[in-house]
């Protein structure tokens, strides 16, 4: 334990996801001691980030305006919506440049243990968007874990009567990997989802 304010700083970093006690200590000492690093930039951003950040009123993605850059972009296809758990999933899918539709960020996945139910997610807003009859396909891209699967199952049932095509991202082998090192669950899924050549 260090004294006073330094320990407070370490504790604050330690509360952040992905930062353990050692990293928290390293970052704190770097901020305190490094001559080349100016913590004023970080502190001014941190002071206003929560007030200045906006979430797109359409899709829930992080935005710098009322609507995010993707929802504002007229070149994006309006007939496909890709449903994801978090804004960082949008970034991941955007990197592929495969998808030209728009997104819908749920803000999490259904998990009773964590007290998260459908009402805590942006599902009502999704239903609202689907009133637009030009939308023909909803892609469920929630995480391939238990909570993500349950959320996808829930949404698939909820949207079944909308007359829209509902699809789920495929699970399978990582590209560039070795078959022999794939875990059994992934390999089993890849078999289930095999495609005809």
């Amino acid at each position: 334990m260090y004294e006073g304010i330094l320990q407070n700083l370490i504790d604050e970093f330690g509360k952040l996801p992905g930062i353990g006690p050692k990293s928290a200590q390293r970052i704190a000492f770097y901020i305190v001691q490094s001559e080349s690093y100016n913590p004023a930039n970080l502190s001014s951003i941190l002071a206003t980030i929560r007030e200045s950040i906006k979430f797109c009123e359409v899709c829930g993605n992080v935005a710098d305006d009322v609507r995010c850059a993707i929802c504002r972009d007229p070149r994006r296809r309006g007939d496909m919506i890709c449903v994801v758990e978090e804004a960082k999933d949008v970034v991941a899918i955007e990197r592929t440049r495969e998808f030209r539709g728009t997104y819908h960020v749920l803000g999490g996945a259904i998990s009773p243990i964590d007290g998260v139910g459908p009402a805590d997610l942006r599902i009502a807003q999704l239903l609202e968007r689907l009133r637009d009859t030009s939308i023909t396909e909803v892609i469920l891209a929630t995480d391939p874990n238990l909570e993500g699967e349950a959320t996808a199952t829930y949404l698939a049932r909820l949207l079944a009567d909308f007359g829209i095509t509902i699809t789920r991202l495929a699970s399978g082998l990582p590209v560039g990997g070795d078959l022999e090192y794939a875990d059994e669950v992934t390999l089993g899924r890849a078999f289930e989802g095999r495609t005809r050549l």
Binding site: P118, E149, A150, T153, D183
Partner: protein, 369 residues
Amino acid sequence: MRIAGVQLSAWRNYDQQVAVFDSSPTVLIGPNGQGKTNFVEAITYAARGKSHRVSADSALVRSGHTEAHIRMRVAHGERTLDVDVVVKSSGSNQVRLNGQPAKKRDLIRLLPIVMFAPEDMDIVRGEPQARRDFLDDLLALSIPRFAGVLADYDRVVRQRNTLLKSLRSAPADADLSPLDAWTENLIVLAGQIMRERRRIIDRLRPDFARDYIAIAGGDARASLALVESLGDAVDSAQIEERLRELFHVKHSEERDRGTTLFGPHRDDLHIALNELPSRTHSSQGEAWSLAIALRLAMVDITRETSTVGDPVVILDDVFSELDAARRERLAAHLSDIEHIIITAADSASVPESVGGMRYLVTGGVMTRA
């Protein structure tokens, strides 16, 4: 497969311990409370990523330390594998295989271990949970993928139960569609587990009956039957359909009780000797022979399915529970296993015929006898 060496630091009552095993069996002798079981627990921990005795890792780290290390080298023919596990008293532990980060669920297929322990008596006489645990261990050993399926199922049941509890206080017309989503995912996993349990019990049955006679002598018929929460025998292809039906019909009862009433977590294994239920009708000696026959059948099945040779067989304080004739039969039955590790408080309880290298364990220190 055999264990070539183990290195422990700050594990249970061990400070620093290096043990090299170049032959089988390995016999650990020492009074109770000196660290014999702690040592074999380290081996099973490195092979499973969990303890068979405690659920919280904090008990595994020597007092005054924040983390314990287990390093273990296993060998199968010319191939060796180094397992390196860091157990932290708080926070998640780390597993490395040959220096590369690995997941706990990868361990079971690379390090098959069958352990016989005094707690095995619970499989015969204890609560259904002990028998389900036995079946699940056996499933994971014979189909490594199932370690993950079982863990997933466990989590889905917990999620669903939490939801059922929260619905208990909800109005009668509450939206049940989130429950339906969990039910559907639970059914998919339950179906896989139940089908595989049926298959593995069919496979276990003849070995179990034969192994019982091999240990107990005589000609008593030891038998196994799965008792499923589904009720009357349901065809394997119809498990999912039947579950769906039950969950539909019984959902208000489930909400009242706040728990999932059907599925493999509610099943039991019925063990009988000459058609009499062993849980209530077996003598102490019979119950021990049944427990040992179950573990031996587990060894048989694991030997057939393993890709890395025999499982390592650990007999933790088991000989002392048996009479001389059963000790000899058990030792004879396991004599061709590649590596057996035996612990005993009294070296006289280990049959002479076992031979092997003996070690003394006192106060968390192991030395060659």
